[in-house]
Symmetry: C2
Subunit: 312 residues, 2 copies
């Protein structure tokens, strides 16, 4: 659905604007105790990306892949997508209007403002903010970037996989957290065109839009209640994301909130990595044993975001 060559071109286009985030091999003994100590583990530290998560990749590609750069962009989000669109727009001198639900945390709202965007704090919930955003787009012709289901968004996020496979040559498996599905579908599309690496989707059991979409063979509405819902809490898996993930993703695993909390603490205690809860979810699947490893398997763990409240 998205050609490898399109993703290669996307990477070339956005490369001047994004950080090549580091990878680190770590020992299974640190975290798995006596269980499968001969596993090899590699972290992809995408939480160090601009704006604190992978999402600027999709935002930059969505803007830069237009025939002419839009004059203004609009998005509805009180979280990582809003910050990423604001960041990309600022760097490209595009005006950004970000529609944020009234209840959004002040720290996240301030971050969007720090990136130079106009914040429209209105709407009692996300749906209301989205309706306001869509009205604004209809009224003004502003360019819209969907948080996960636009093909351009998915293509931009796919570059995480391209970069990772350039950095690490011997991965057997990758574990990727899922919200609406933009990241995993893009990465899966790239990975499966070049390797047979196993791709595993990780979701909180109580915020599992893709897991339930697969079970029902079509996206179905869920009510996200996970503690990681601020970044993984999509109520509906994207249609494009669903189709791509259905084709390419090998395994779908649900974890508990308690697994995520323990993983966040473990990342800090063992590695001095402070990931947000959603960014800790892929690691949680490994550390909790919910993802069962095989002998000598080399497992890539994507730490996808770091936007916790600390200091910001």
């Amino acid at each position: 659905m998205i050609d490898k060559s399109t993703i290669d071109d996307a990477y070339a286009l956005i490369k001047p604007y994004i950080r090549k985030t580091p990878v680190m091999d770590v020992s299974a003994a640190d975290i798995l105790g006596n269980r499968n100590q001969n596993n090899r583990i590699n972290f992809k530290l995408e939480l160090f990306q601009h704006a604190g998560c992978f999402k600027p990749r999709g935002a930059f590609y969505s803007l830069l892949s237009q025939a002419t750069l839009p004059k203004a962009v609009a998005a509805a989000s009180g979280g990582n997508h809003g910050a990423a669109v604001a960041y990309a727009a600022q760097k490209l001198n595009v005006k950004a209007n970000i529609f944020v639900p009234k209840a959004a945390p002040k720290a996240k709202v301030d971050r969007i403002k720090d990136f130079g965007a106009k914040v429209l704090l209105d709407g009692d919930n996300y749906a209301a903010a989205l309706a306001n955003c869509e009205q604004h787009i209809a009224d003004t012709g502003a360019f819209s970037i969907h948080a996960y289901d636009d093909i351009s968004t998915i293509t931009g996020q796919a570059t995480v996989a391209l970069e990772w496979l350039e950095q690490v040559k011997d991965l057997d498996t990758v574990l990727i957290a899922v919200g609406g599905g933009g990241l995993i579908s893009g990465m899966a599309a790239y990975i499966k065109q070049v390797t047979d690496i196993k791709i595993v989707a990780i979701e909180p059991a109580n915020s599992a839009s893709m897991y339930h979409a697969m079970a029902n063979n079509t996206p179905v509405t869920v009510t996200p209640t996970s503690i990681a819902s601020d970044s993984l809490g999509a109520s509906l898996c994207g249609t494009n994301c669903f189709a791509i993930a259905k084709q390419y993703v090998d395994e779908f695993i649900c974890i508990e909130d308690e697994d995520i909390l323990q993983a966040q603490t473990s990342l800090w205690n063992n590695y001095r990595i402070l990931a947000e809860l959603g960014g800790s979810a892929a690691f949680a699947a490994l550390a909790s044993g919910k993802y069962e490893t095989s002998e000598n398997e080399k497992i890539g763990v994507l730490i996808c975001g770091g936007n916790t409240q600390f200091l910001s």
Copy 2:
């Protein structure tokens, strides 16, 4: 004073026990504003080392380089050195007694205990804890590891430079924070035997044992009062450290506590890296402009520790 080949051998010896910490290129535009945007910057993220800082390298080498592995080791420290010795001893099945001043933060004491060491919480200050430790060593014959001035400690810390130069080929300059001087002297000894990279020592003005040693041409006692004294607060630069640094280090810069606080916040806001105050000092010299960059200079910044209180 320490041959390159000795450092090469040390790295081979400790490699199975340490993490190869990642590096990351970052854009000068993120932090330098309109000042020298054509600088290139590379972070060496040594805060992700076991026990949260570079010090296990020296501790492992000190133990592993003995003709026979000691049965027991002792150290005086309520901070990073104590945790590093405890960690290395645990992994090598050596008994560790760590002498800690009564006022040490509970979080750090707990961390030393978590690594399986016996904590002797006695002595009203560091000097008293050190005296207790020395008495213990005299009584029991336990192996002693100095926090910075043993040649074996310095040799172990030197492996940070070896690893960094393998990872990044085009550094012009490295900025390194200084406490007692073990890290910078080891790194400088390695670097100057293989390249002409400029080496810059960074100290808090109010905790600057090496700066004042250089000014007086001999180590002199200072009273560390910097907010970063928990990791950089040596009252006396090591004698070996002084001699090596005098030979190899090119520039000595003092920064203010305010620079360090701002740098710690900037590392978090821009990169989602949560360094301890001492680990933020090298970056502080760059971000504050106290280290003046040249056109097109590529500057390596060592983020050497992450042992803040958060979550642990």
